[in-house]
Amino acid sequence: MTEMRFAGFGGQGIIRSGIILGRAISIYDHGFATMNQSFGPEARGGACSSQMVISDTKVLYPYVSRTDFLIAMSQEGYDKFIDELKEDGTLIIDSDLVKPKTDKKIFGIPSTRIAEELGNRIIANVVMLGFMTAVTKVVSVEAMKKTIPESVPQRFIELNIEAFDRGYHYRAE
């Protein structure tokens, strides 16, 4: 069983990331992925997180308690959830937006900057999904590439796949 949390602020596609990952795992990789979300009253800018429990069998307990992976897209998200990360857990961050103070294992990618280079910062979460796929190996690349086109508007499919690839092939410092 793997427990994972995406954290950031509203508008970054945090919940959407969880939906894409969960869909890829439970529909195309034939696993079990249960996602729960929490967000403040604001549509954008408020703290926001989605949590996911991944398993080979039916997920009984739907919330995470000690995460194996924390994917932080904002400093607030990092501060709030870093203690929940296991001692041997892995922290994955947007390296421009999060300044970690921890000796846990860290992988960083400037996902927002890469998304801006590609022309739209709204796809930062997809860059992060690509990076996360490579680091965590909780999902297959094939499953993600089948899921992304189903989850974004037609005219943005190509851009999203490109964003995913940039993240997937990024070499972390």
Binding site: T34, L60, P62
Partner: protein, 426 residues
Amino acid sequence: MKANPRDVFTGTYYIDGDVAAAYGALAAGCKFLGGYPITPSTEAAEAFARKAPYVGAQFIQMEDELGSIASVLGASWSGKKSMTITSGPGYSLMMENIGLGAAMEIPFVIINIQRSGPSTGVPTSTGQADIMQSKWGANGDYEVIALAPESPQESFDFAIKAFNLAERYRVPVMFMADECVGHMTEKVVIPDASEIEVEPRRFYQGKKEEYIPYRRDQDLVPPIVKAGDGYHLYITGLTHDERGYPLLDHRSLPKIEKAKVIHKKSTNPYLVDKIRKNKDEIIEMQEDHLEDAEVVIVSYGITSRVAYRAFEQARQEGIKVGMLRLITVWPFPDDRIAELAKKVKGFVVPEINYGQIVFEVDRCSHGKANTILVPHGGASVHKPDDILGAIKKIVKDNKKYEQVIEYTTTLEKTIFKGSLTEKIKK
């Protein structure tokens, strides 16, 4: 009858329990939603509204919950399968007209995605504390049916079940999900329409001039007509006779068998009898390892999933524990609990409230077995260890308790130091 292919959005989805419930309602043939969107049920209303134009259904956002439920009663009389979607505070506001619906014997479904706490409570967090209200919310005697799904897939399946039961028995059916199931996203498979069984409305088949609104079939349920189709229809919330006419003297009170003059029979006793006498057909449970069980966990909704983990752990440790999951919470399986009480040491009842269904279990066990409540204040779900601890306590104590006792190790932490406090601070 099979579902209409137009109403069924066949496919494999990754959606939350709210959305799944809306798709289930549509598949069941629901054509009217009157509602006042409220967290954590809003996604269900949105999903219904988005699909409604494709299946010839309507969604009206009413001015409030009083209007919502009233519109549902009216829509259902017009011949459409109807429902409303709400959460705790809205549910409370609907009680008066739920009673009217029960008295008029209108088939409709209420989806209540339960939040935690009384009054406004914590809108974005889970609870199971409306479960008694779902049975006793309105004044007077009547029976309802209540269902408790534990996953988005069951949200879809049980929404169909809810409509089928409502139409079959002409009764309000309560779909009592909780925020955790409502906002939990999982894989949901919507099968082909040919695999979905739906209950058609029980329309009256006889001659128009012979129609009597509350004359019953063998199973105590009267067939229904559409308002506006030219039948002589008189309906009221006043206690009424078969014709629907108010019946306000003492003869309205005794049980059915005693009244001799047909038109002077009150319909009141039937409001309970049509459910109680058909309860064997209505009640659904999921049982696991009850044959050799010494301790039985009785649970419903999201709690049954968490309880399952405790069940597995206990079995691994060699404790003979069984599971009884209530699929229909109302009507309550009195007979089954009474039967089990004679042979088990005790029942463990975890629920996300401070004790509701636990007292039903205790009532049905007639003092034969111990009952432990594992309470929870809401905002999250039980830790499996709490439920496991209660199981072990029954085994270890090996004596008869005087009353229902509470067991918890992490309650304080869950309520006062956990996520609820964090949310309030914001």
